[in-house]
Amino acid sequence: MLNDTAPLLSVVPSGAADTKPSVLSVSVEDHRYHPLQQTLAPSALELKKGEVVSIIGPSGCGKSTFLRIAAGLIEASSGKISSTTDRTAILFQEHRLLPWKSLLNNISFGLQGQKLSKFQRMKKARAVAYAMGFTEDDLIKYPSELSGGMRQRGALARALAVEPDLLFLDEPFSALDIGRRRDLYRLVLHEVDEKQCSVLMVTHDVTEALALSDRVLVMAPDPGHFAKEYEVPLARSERTRRNLLELEASLLADDRIAQLFNMSNWEQLV
């Protein structure tokens, strides 16, 4: 049995986010993959240093597209992005490790974007890998020899090895079981607390968003736009499974949002 009163995540709160400088500001005017179909309506977002912001919304609402634009992977049809850092990393839904490289070489792969010698890259990758609980034996394995949870942890190690000021998460936890998932939550939040890393996360899991974020943005589809912004009232250290349920209830109490997730009468399971 889980102890209901135990903190879900033992993490120090990130403090008053209001006074922190902005790290990323995204303002999308319009985005289309197809000229006749608008994927994103005007939607804007500002991310402060050390802040964790989640975008939630039903599947296909455009939240992943917004994240891709924010991360600079694609360019908005019309819009502006300004970021104070170029140390960014993205964690994708799939691990995207290179199957022909050992875990250690996969973790050091992302460091090639920085001006480091091969020796420095390996040293750094090794340090990050050990910090994340990998053993010497794991490091020489190919991704196909690792379990699903270890692969995603390897992908997180690759992302954190570049010491990002800005971390983008594109539903990276959705394929993991609850225990593996919490391990990764802790690793990400540790980075947020220790290094003031900012996180922009996309998820369709409302509970996950409420557990991790300072702010939750709800995106509605056709075309994608932010329908609601919700500041999570509790500090992260005070959040437990029980009061997260209450937070979820208060968020879904808004009829528009409950409808968005097809969750009218959400308290009924089936």
């Binding site: 960014t88 792969f109 974007g113 394995k141 020899e145």
Partner: protein, 260 residues
């Protein structure tokens, strides 16, 4: 570690046994054929093998083999260089890939024998004809392999590399090249086998030297023992190339696929 090395060695030896068993089975069936049909249809394997020893012992026999090998490799290497180069370029462009499709179909559809006739008219009876024929009949395979490799690569991995600002050269060698190779390699191996067959055919019709010319002589003399001896040479060399060149390269480039 030692255990690992020992097990790879054992599995190598084991696959060697398999090949050897297959070869002996073929010789056994050959012997059965000889006993059933007589030496004009199929000479005794031992007779063909002793003829083979005679042929290789002659200075011209070894020379024939070397000439054929040189022609096959020249055509094959030219086809590899051009095929891979243009295949990579075409693969990166949607328009070019679409435009190339009919060309590949046509080039694969023209029988090598037709190329030999054309090549004879263009290059005459020298090295040019077999080299060109090998080149022109293998290049569509290699080109298509390289093109497919570029087209079928996982865009997600490109996106991942882009997200880390990995420079284009490293991105090519570490992310794209391994995927391209996994498409290219089977095509490349097929092309190598094809180049052996085609070079002998081209020589038979066009050349006065080389294994194909040796076969042509054997035909004129109705000498089945020499014919079979030359066939053993061609097939034997193909087996050697596969074991000494293709398999080690394959193990090297696809080693990660066989991780336990």
């Amino acid at each position: 570690m030692i255990h690992h090395m020992l097990s790879t060695l054992l599995s190598k030896l084991w696959s060697g046994w398999g090949t050897l068993a297959g070869v002996f089975l073929i010789f056994a069936l050959w012997q059965v054929g000889f006993e059933a049909f007589g030496s004009l249809v199929l000479p005794a394997p031992l007779e063909a093998l002793s003829r083979l020893v005679d042929l290789v012992a002659l200075p011209s026999g070894l020379e024939y083999i070397l000439i054929t090998a040189k022609r096959a490799f020249a055509g094959f290497l030219l086809a590899s260089a051009f095929g891979i180069f243009f295949g990579l370029i075409a693969g990166w462009s949607n328009t070019l890939s679409l435009l190339c499709k009919p060309f590949i179909t046509v080039a694969l559809g023209v029988p090598p024998i037709a190329w030999i006739v054309l090549a004879l008219l263009w290059f005459g009876g020298d090295d040019g004809t077999p080299i060109f024929t090998v080149f022109i009949s293998t290049i569509p395979l290699i080109f298509a392999g390289a093109l497919q490799g570029v087209r079928m690569r996982e865009k997600e991995l490109d996106e991942m590399a882009q997200s880390f600002h990995v420079p284009p050269v490293q991105r090519f060698w570490q992310v794209q090249a391994p995927q391209i190779v996994s498409y290219l390699f089977p095509a490349w191996a097929t092309a190598l086998g094809l180049s052996w067959k085609v070079v002998v055919m081209a020589e038979l019709l066009s050349s006065t030297r080389g294994i194909g010319a040796g076969l042509a002589e054997a035909r004129v003399n109705i000498d089945t023992a020499s014919t079979m001896a030359w066939i053993v040479v061609v097939v034997g060399l193909l087996l050697v190339i596969e074991g000494m060149l293709l398999n080690p390269v394959k193990d090297y480039v696809e080693g990660w696929k066989h991780a336990e």
